[in-house]
Amino acid sequence: MPVAYALQQLINGVTLGMIYGLIAVGYTMVYGIIGMINFAHGDVFMIGAFLSLIGLTLLAGFGITYVPLAIALALIAACGIAALYGWTVERIAYRPLRGSFRLAPLISAIGMSIVLQNFVQVSQGARDLNLQPLIPGGMSLMEQDGFVVQLSWMQVVISVVTLALLALFTWLVTRTPLGRAMRACEQDLKMASLLGIDTDRTISLTFVIGAVLATVAGMLFLLYYGSINFFIGFSAGVKAFTAAVLGGIGSLPGAVLGGLAIGLIESFWSGYASVPYKNVAAFSVLVIVLIFMPSGLLGRADIEKV
């Protein structure tokens, strides 16, 4: 029983952590390049989930019932539109404030987050929307004293999709001209623009990529939990940002590591202590880690030269 139970929590935690990791990458990327908390990112995730649900419902209405095809088509459409949201948010709310002092973009981002949340509430209603499970079933890994460890196909899909996407993303950042431009902007925005990198375009594309990753996370969230509302972006966003900070903000592997850590803490805390206090546990671990490692697990120490 103890081993089996722990294994089950491990599986659940890793699945949850993958979703947090995908969102956290968007936070950490934007932070690395322009040094601001993109508070609206969690709401882009929420919009991604809504777009996925609308897409799936629309396709079902057209009679496309082959699940992999429907999911793929809905995901592509949702990613396209959500990318437009990411781009527009940056263009409207952040670009005019670039180079302004630190708190102005933060307030603007909080404003944008309120706008997106309430826009969806007004246009799609405040009720929970449910989707019947599209990828049911799973397999039992082991049995111990009557406790069966379940690994659902959905959890397999989440892990495979996330790992594939992160591999693609790592390739993009390390091997392509766009990735080189992004890394250059991260090191020194002004120098990069002096050397002929179109920084505006690079920043816009960073937001677009972040929005696409968040949409995939939104689709996985929708398929896994089967229920969404306009407010899911806040708590997922805060926890993903916590994950990014825990891993060391600005570090891409750190974001995934932090996401996994937060997912595991939540799942083990829910399994062994109490479900209502799982957020308290996650945030407490964040505070404790930051006391001893002020720049996160994998972050670079912030050295100030005088």
Binding site: A77, G80, F101, R102, L103, I114, V115, F119, S123, L290
Partner: protein, 428 residues
Amino acid sequence: MSARCFAPVAMLRDAGLSALVALGLFVALIGLRLVPTDNGLELQYRGWLLLAVVVAVFVGRLLLLVWRAGRPVGTPTPRRLAEGITRAGRWVAPLFLLLALTLPLYSGRYVIDVGILVMTYVMLGWGLNIVVGLAGLLDLGYVAFYAVGAYSYALFSTTFHLGFWETLPLAGLLAACWGVILGFPVLRLRGDYLAIVTLAFGEIIRVVLINWTSFTGGPNGVSDIPRPTLFGLKFNASGDPDTFSAFFGIDYSITQRFVFLYYVILGLALLTNWVSLRLRRLPLGRAWEALREDEIACRALGINVTVTKLTAFAIGATFGGFAGAFFATRQGFVSPESFTFIESALVLAIVVLGGLGSQLGVALAALVMIGGSELFRDFAEYRMLVFGVALVVMMILRPRGLVSGRVPSVALRSRKEISAELVAQGRG
């Protein structure tokens, strides 16, 4: 002062592109609506609404471009306006004070009620201004102290039957303790690490309030919180000798209680203002401002950074706690719902929009934001949407806040006003 060139074709193209982007953004979320029915979800098509929104974006963008082209290049209007406000600051502040003091004389119950709400946020803004504006420490969890104050009064009064005036100092003290508890772990953190930890702290307090049902009443909160009294005189219609109306031999009216509450919060807010203005002249306040300007230089000069940061958190939290106790007594009821992140964001927005460190600016911003959103009370559904748009627009127009000038707290000979651009925002 020459007008910008006027190019209709480019403008039409720009507006057309904006309309196209709007079409992309809204095609799914406005054009379609998910409707839950008995047998799964159904889609409702709203083509005309989508068309209307896209046309509105096109026309709006075109008007914006035409307006911009017709406007002379140079000082934009809002800046001139704000410079006017700053220059007029000498008499604007006393005028506002006079208006605030005499408000109950010429307004009805509704306006007084809105006044109470605005004053609560003015007080919260001034309290947070100590942490963010003076000490330069970014606090995204200020609502936690507000909650501590509110629950302190709620629980002390319902459990030990203590009155408002006895509990007020206790609420402040408890909030200050929590300020120090938050302050300790974040001493080494800077910038956005500090922001996320303070945000997490606010969430922890809220989650505990929701789940510790035996102590806080859980999601149902605490109700039947007693109202404040004026030297033991109550405000109710019972006609007992210890009520305000019976003591002074006048007819009871519910407005009396509102007027009393209004003067209580006005007094508390003015206390906050007075304390922070005096503190700025003390060595402690100067240390806060020095910390905001340059932490390393502070350490080099021998300022105790630990004590400086902790006192900033504690004193800011104290006023948050006072405001919370007042909130509890005004509502007569507290529940965790009142202490969400959006409240912290609202208070921070008031401080930033007013202009960090500017007392007058914070008061103006609270008036604009809270009073303004009160105008939209009838459109409850769209209220927060408009509020969010207003936040973004105001930040873009005036990133440094409404009041763009600062008077240094200490100066050698004459205190000359400087631009807010020259004041550091702190890295903490």
